[in-house]
Amino acid sequence: MQAGPVIEVDGIVSRFGEQTVHDGVSFTVQPGTLVALIGGSGTGKSVLLREIIGLQRPTAGRVRLLGTDMLSASEAELDAVRRRFGMMFQDGALFSSLTVAQNVAVPLREHTRLSPAVTDALVALRLQQAGLPADAAQKMPSELSGGMRKRAAIARAIALEPEVLFLDEPTSGLDPITARAFDQLVRSLVDDLGLTVFLITHDLDTLLGVVDRLIVLGGGHVLADGTVKEVMDVDDPWIREYFSVRRIA
């Protein structure tokens, strides 16, 4: 288990040609917390997430994930870290040629030497932990609804029992009822399995309901960082407008 901070982001600068997306972004995430990253469109939330998990390099700055420096690590070290975090992409990114059960089994087959019987049992457990019914296991991803596909993607992301789970807009495109159930699922992963969850969202209800800590990105900087209550009191036009939707209602 990770003793120090799980994610350390220090002075990230991201530039694409003329355009500067991040101009010195810094924060840390402690283990066992559920942290949300919000910000308007084009503030570089997804870019930041991709930089943290090493899919993209920032122009300058430092990223440490689970104690590993993601920018200077060797490919072998990166591989070791990759087994310790899970990532759920926005549309699931399930392999369309495999059934749901096979999708979840991919990381297990690849990275462990468990017997087939245990692998099958573990796949069934992961599907249950993600809240999928048993008959979903043999379905192809194209036969699943949006909410089920996201659950299957979570099941695959937690297959290797990661210490950190990254979620890119987990509730986008879901109806409110399914979305709230999804929030509870994510919360239970943190409470029951001791995971650290870092998610990007636009969903105000997710923030108000289950999130421990909120990081607001804007203008290339961290605008606010703290509990939802603390962030709501920050005097910033974008944050005020963001939460005003709910205050009126």
């Binding site: 369309s96 462990t112 468990l114 573990l122 457990l125 249950q128 048993a134 194209s142 029992e161 029951d192």
Partner: protein, 372 residues
């Protein structure tokens, strides 16, 4: 046997205690699983699992341990000394395990059933093609009273893509076919000193059979696949649905221009193929068979009746219609996932090439029968 470092089984007469140690986590689970398999937990008496020396346990390891206990019919074992986090993980896995329903087994089909399935799906594929062919003819017929409904812009774009841009590859391939054909015929004809008659063989063979077939195969791979990919990705992004909701007909907007473009372009490409294969033949006939270009052309005028060229050219629109219908139909009916699009594109190429060759054989028999 060295005592495994993951656990130790102690027996103090009254009860047996399975003491867990170090960290039970997924990377080590394969070893733990093997070690656990050698453990004998069966029997009566009180059994307890002691987690006080345990660093941590994850849900996968808890699952393995619970399965071993269940296998030994000792699910009644008491769990003691676990810290709060580990206790919750174990409880969660236990609840899930209890709720687990056996996953329904996938039905396996015997060879006969599979044969039946594939015959049935081939039948429905053919039926679908015929259906789509009818719909295409209907859409074409709609144009007769109202020719202005034809999308001229789309037609010209398609003509450029399937016709003009295909000329270089068609010219290259058919010229080389002409060279190869002359070379093969020449090897035989030289033995009898019948060099000049190679012109007869190449002239008739290339224009009547080879150029149409080769060009149709190239176009099936180039344009048939492109039709499926274009229409299929438009279906994936719901563009075809958008066309329909805007009160337009996808048949008129997408299919008719493609079918017409290919039916116009393919005969022209076959003509390019005819010329280029004869040019290729003429180029090799000089150095290999001592047939000068002048002699080649003079012999061609005598030997190659123009009816052979027309027979070859007359097949082209039929091939074009079949390729375009298969390509468009496979694209318009692609299922809405990305894998299906790739499969449909491949299938289009295979189907069109097979269809072209079958049609050509039918054509040859038919022409023989009516004596052309």
């Amino acid at each position: 046997m060295t005592p495994p470092r993951w656990f130790a089984l102690e027996d103090d007469g009254e009860r047996r205690t399975l003491r867990l140690a170090s960290a039970w986590r997924l990377p080590q689970l394969a070893e733990i699983e093997i070690a656990l398999a050698q453990l004998a937990l069966q029997g009566d008496g009180v059994l307890q699992i002691d987690g006080s020396a345990l660093e941590s346990i994850d849900s996968a390891s808890a699952l393995v341990l619970l399965r071993v206990l269940a296998g030994a019919r000792r699910s009644d074992a008491a769990w003691v000394g676990f810290n709060e986090v580990d206790q919750r993980i174990v409880e969660q896995v236990r609840t899930h395990l209890a709720a687990a329903e056996p996953t329904p087994a996938t039905r396996a089909f015997g060879p006969l059933a599979r044969l039946g399935q594939s015959v049935f799906s081939f039948g429905s594929l053919l039926g679908g093609h015929v259906n789509f062919f009818g719909a295409t003819l209907f859409a074409l017929a709609e144009l007769v009273p109202r020719p202005r409904r034809l999308r001229l812009r789309e037609l010209t774009v398609q003509l450029e893509q399937v016709g003009l841009q295909a000329i270089p590859v068609v010219a290259l391939v058919t010229a080389l076919i002409g060279v190869v054909l002359t070379y093969l015929l020449g090897l035989q004809a030289e033995k009898y000193g019948a060099n000049i008659f190679v012109v007869d063989g190449v002239g008739i063979g290339a224009t009547r059979e080879l150029a149409p077939i080769i060009v149709a195969v190239i176009v099936a791979g180039r344009s048939g696949a492109a039709f499926t990919a274009q229409l299929g990705s438009m279906r994936l992004t719901e563009e075809t649905d958008a066309i329909r909701t805007l009160g337009l007909s996808p048949m008129q907007v997408l299919v008719v221009p493609r079918v017409l473009a290919l039916m116009i372009a393919l005969p022209l490409l076959v003509f390019v193929g005819d010329v280029m294969s004869l040019v290729g033949a003429m180029l090799i006939a000089g150095p290999m068979l001592d047939v000068t270009p002048v002699a080649f052309v003079a012999r061609l005028r005598e030997a190659l009746d123009v009816s052979h060229v027309f027979v070859g050219l007359s097949k082209a629109p039929v091939f074009a219609l079949v390729i375009a219908v298969i390509g468009c139909r496979m694209g318009m009916t692609v299922e809405r996932d990305t894998r299906a699009l790739g499969a449909a594109t491949t299938s289009t190429v295979v189907q069109s090439i097979v269809a072209v060759i079958v049609l050509d054989a039918v054509y040859a028999v038919f022409m023989q029968a009516i004596g052309v």
